[in-house]
Symmetry: C2
Amino acid sequence: MASVAGIVEDNKKIRDLIQRYLDMQDDLSCPVAVDSVEEMLEYLEEHPGPDVILMDIQLPGMSGIKGIGIIKEKYPDIEIIMLTVYHDSHKIFKALRAGASGYLLKHTSLPEIKESILKLLDGGAPMSPQIARKVITHFQEETPKKDPDSNLTPREHDIVNGLVDGLSYKMIADRYDISIDTVRAHIRNIYKKLHVNSKAEVIAKSLKGEI
Amino acid sequence: MASVAGIVEDNKKIRDLIQRYLDMQDDLSCPVAVDSVEEMLEYLEEHPGPDVILMDIQLPGMSGIKGIGIIKEKYPDIEIIMLTVYHDSHKIFKALRAGASGYLLKHTSLPEIKESILKLLDGGAPMSPQIARKVITHFQEETPKKDPDSNLTPREHDIVNGLVDGLSYKMIADRYDISIDTVRAHIRNIYKKLHVNSKAEVIAKSLKGEI
DNA sequence: GGCTCCCTAACATGATCATGTGATTGCCGG
DNA sequence: CCGGCAATCACATGATCATGTTAGGGAGCC
């Protein structure tokens, strides 16, 4: 059974080229190719949705990234592949977070685009190699919680956890069955070690993984 | 110029098969195929490192994931592709965070493995489709801060940001050029809306993305 | 014109926090 | 055996916070 694709792309030449190529494939059809998210939404109102939509980012009217969110919300079963010249991390991540399932750069060849669509519908996540690399690099940076040499003693960590839980000195004292003055003493030391001087800053540092 | 690959894989049959295949390619050589991270480390002590290492996870002795970290630390220029049967998110993310640049499942065909190596050395990040999908799905889940109906007004968001920055009422008042009593009033309203009653809880909620 | 909501502001009071100073106990390592 | 450090506790004081009450001006809606 042939799968159905759609295109949102404001460059008519590129749009027509891709549409004609996809539509001539045995296992694909491409009945809709428009130049804005708004038009695609109108189309979707009156027609059964395609399985996958190729989407540009820079578009007249609504941006492709905003469009992802709207389409995904109304038609969660439609898969979206970004097809754009943008390869900066910010746009890539925004698109993926918005719900895109693939991200291709515009120099991708027609056969590769076709392969990507099929791969996506088969449960994959087609990405241009450079994009894939940025994504996994982001992953690696996501873990800077190496061990910022907290210097905090075990007990001090307990106290910090209490603060993060939003407890007052008294409640922390009760939780660990110690005196409120002891809590005070620990917190004094924590403040010194972290170079802060309020509960708020300790909580912030902790939740940001800096402890 | 032919690129050099290495293999760490404890199943001798698979190891030999892959090594023979890669070694017979014009653009690749595969001089080293061992069955543990420890052996690979010994090899690296005495030989120029390969460009890329295919690494299993389940290994005698040190795990492949731990091995990534050690190899990457001593030889940061060596790229590592995981080649394993494990497709659970936990192991995938651990491997990527440890420094792997690609992740293939073991049913990958020999030509695909070769393609993956070349793609990696060309700046890509080869992943089996299912893996790629899990990675980008993780990305999407990373943003559950959709909009938990904060109900907070713009000004209230300002105040929350001030709190998150560890500011006192006075400092917030100065930052936005309003009276400290106004700050108090806003915070009162914020507390009501969020059902909390301390700065600490607001900061915690905010940093956890619950606002 | 009423109504609701946001932003602003003031006054007041009891609770909690930040910080200083000091002390005791127990464990670890030179 | 003694010094260093973690953990415990105490007393004290000024700063800051949490909360109640009240209220005027402006934007938007029916």
